[in-house]
């Protein structure tokens, strides 16, 4: 057999992700797991961040996955450029853009849409988060951060609008207390909004 030493591929699998659920269907990797304490600041310039991101993408043993979801910081800089550069060859499904309704926030997200266009990342859609607050005392709905900006942005850029998620203090509280919002508040508008968006994303025709 004409084989050479170089033919053997040894996968580097340095890191095992952390499982967020008992059934081990949701795994997570974050620099947060590598810090000495949660208060430790990561004071890194771009090149060091880029190297970390590349390692995350190549060295984590995800196993067989249906979905890999990548959370990014705000902006269009090192992290975003590096993730896109390294993922492009794997034909990512695309980007989900999250905005709050007001013009100031939408003003930044339109630049994210430009980023997606320029880098050739398909846009899965826009989500308008923190869209309205229903007072638990009297059920009056107040648009604390305005309304409709995300939907208007999606229309202007001709990308799918995935839906609105209302402000629900219970969502923030359950996340922080390590409880499952999905199990505790199945009747909430926020839950319905999130599940509807998830359905839209998972059932979309990816061609």
């Amino acid at each position: 057999m004409q084989t050479h030493k170089g033919d053997i591929y040894v996968p580097i699998c340095r890191w095992v992700p952390v499982y967020a659920d008992p059934e081990q269907r949701i795994s997570v990797m974050s620099i947060g797991f590598l810090l000495g304490s949660p208060d430790e600041a990561v004071v890194w310039r771009g090149p060091k961040k880029n190297a970390m991101i590349k390692q995350f993408l190549s060295d984590v043993c995800w196993g067989a996955l249906d979905y890999l979801i990548i959370d990014t910081p705000p902006g269009t800089s090192d992290e975003h450029i590096t993730v896109v550069e390294n993922l492009k060859k794997y034909s990512p499904d695309g980007a989900v853009l999250v905005t709050t309704p007001q013009a100031v926030a939408v003003g930044d997200v339109r630049r994210e849409l430009t980023f997606c266009k320029k880098t050739g990342i398909p846009v899965v859609g826009v989500i308008e988060n923190m869209s309205g607050f229903v007072c638990p005392h009297c059920t009056e709905c107040t648009n604390i951060f305005s309304k409709g900006g995300g939907e208007a942005l999606a229309e202007q850029f001709q990308v799918p609008f995935l839906g609105c998620i209302p402000l629900d203090p219970r969502l923030a509280r359950t996340l922080e207390e390590g409880q499952s919002f999905i199990d505790l508040f199945k009747d909430s508008t926020a839950y319905h909004a999130v599940t509807s968006i998830v359905k839209t994303i998972t059932e979309r025709d990816t061609g």
Partner: protein
């Protein structure tokens, strides 16, 4: 560096506005801190927006579409009022959709240019708006300004632990770079329903909020700002909430916080050590 020191020698007080997380109201706060100080028209105020990828200050201060002019003495800030000038990468972009897709070194280069080439003139307060986090922009601004006597940093947070966790990282960043912390502001702290007047905590302070964190870390707590939909509306329209709704609880709270900040900036050096501020 010498050029920057020379440029900033006519700036009396320099403040950085930081946050760990995005979306906590840093740019809103920066703009209103500037508006609040500039209300006294004997004071000259300037805002430098170094959020290169997400420059919100032009929109928030009603200056969208403005362009930067160059003169023999350098770049001229764009003036909101006679005594309130602004500089942002937003003024250098072709349009609202234009994205600044730059890696760190290029961003650092622009920040250096801003500090070196903008002709602020004689300024009482320069307020610097930053992007969230602790990366290139923050390291650069601290490094380039280190010979220029920065008064300190104001950290903005929302009440919940997930935000406070990132504030603690900002506090550690300030410690690492020997940056004094003027104090922490808790934004979006409670919402009063306009109909029934009951208060809801939309971002619940699950671990006691910013005040408790400040007590634990012995850092000044500057105050709370409630959620008021008119704040966001004013920012969207490029107006000052302090001018539009001056009698609201939020405007009152802003003014008290601004007063505390000005007091902190004007403390004699020995007083700072007494009050336990970090240097």
């Amino acid at each position: 560096m010498a050029a920057i020191r020379h440029r900033l020698s006519t700036v009396k007080h320099k403040l950085l506005v930081l946050s760990g997380k995005g979306g906590v109201g840093k740019s809103t706060f920066t703009a209103h801190l500037a508006y609040g100080i500039a209300h006294d028209d004997t004071k000259q105020v300037a805002v430098l927006d170094v959020d290169i990828c997400g420059p919100s200050i032009p929109r928030v201060m009603g200056l969208e579409g403005e362009q930067v002019h160059q003169s023999a003495s350098g770049w001229s800030p764009v003036y909101v009022e006679d005594n309130l000038g602004v500089m942002s990468v937003g003024f250098l972009l072709g349009g609202p959709d234009e994205a600044v897709i730059w890696r760190g070194p290029k961003k650092n280069g622009l920040i250096k240019q801003f500090l070196r080439d903008v002709d602020w003139g004689d300024v009482d307060y320069l307020v610097v708006d930053t992007p969230p986090g602790t990366s290139d922009e923050h390291l650069s601004i601290v490094q380039y300004m280190k010979d220029s006597d920065v008064d300190g940093a104001i950290i903005i947070t929302t009440p919940q632990e997930v935000s406070l966790q990132d504030v603690r990282k900002e506090i550690n960043f300030c410690k690492k770079v020997s940056m004094r912390i003027i104090g922490v502001v808790e934004n979006m702290s409670g919402f009063v329903c306009p109909k029934c007047k009951n208060t809801s905590e939309i971002f619940p302070p699950t671990t006691g909020g910013a005040e408790k964190m400040c007590q634990e870390l012995q850092i000044p707590f500057l105050g709370r700002l409630p959620l008021d939909p008119r704040i966001g509306q004013c920012c969207d329209e490029g107006k000052s909430f302090l001018a539009e709704v001056p009698d609201s609880p939020a405007a009152q709270a802003f003014k008290e916080i601004i007063q505390k900040i000005e007091q902190q900036c004007n403390l004699p050096a020995s007083k700072e050590e007494e009050t336990g501020e970090m240097r």
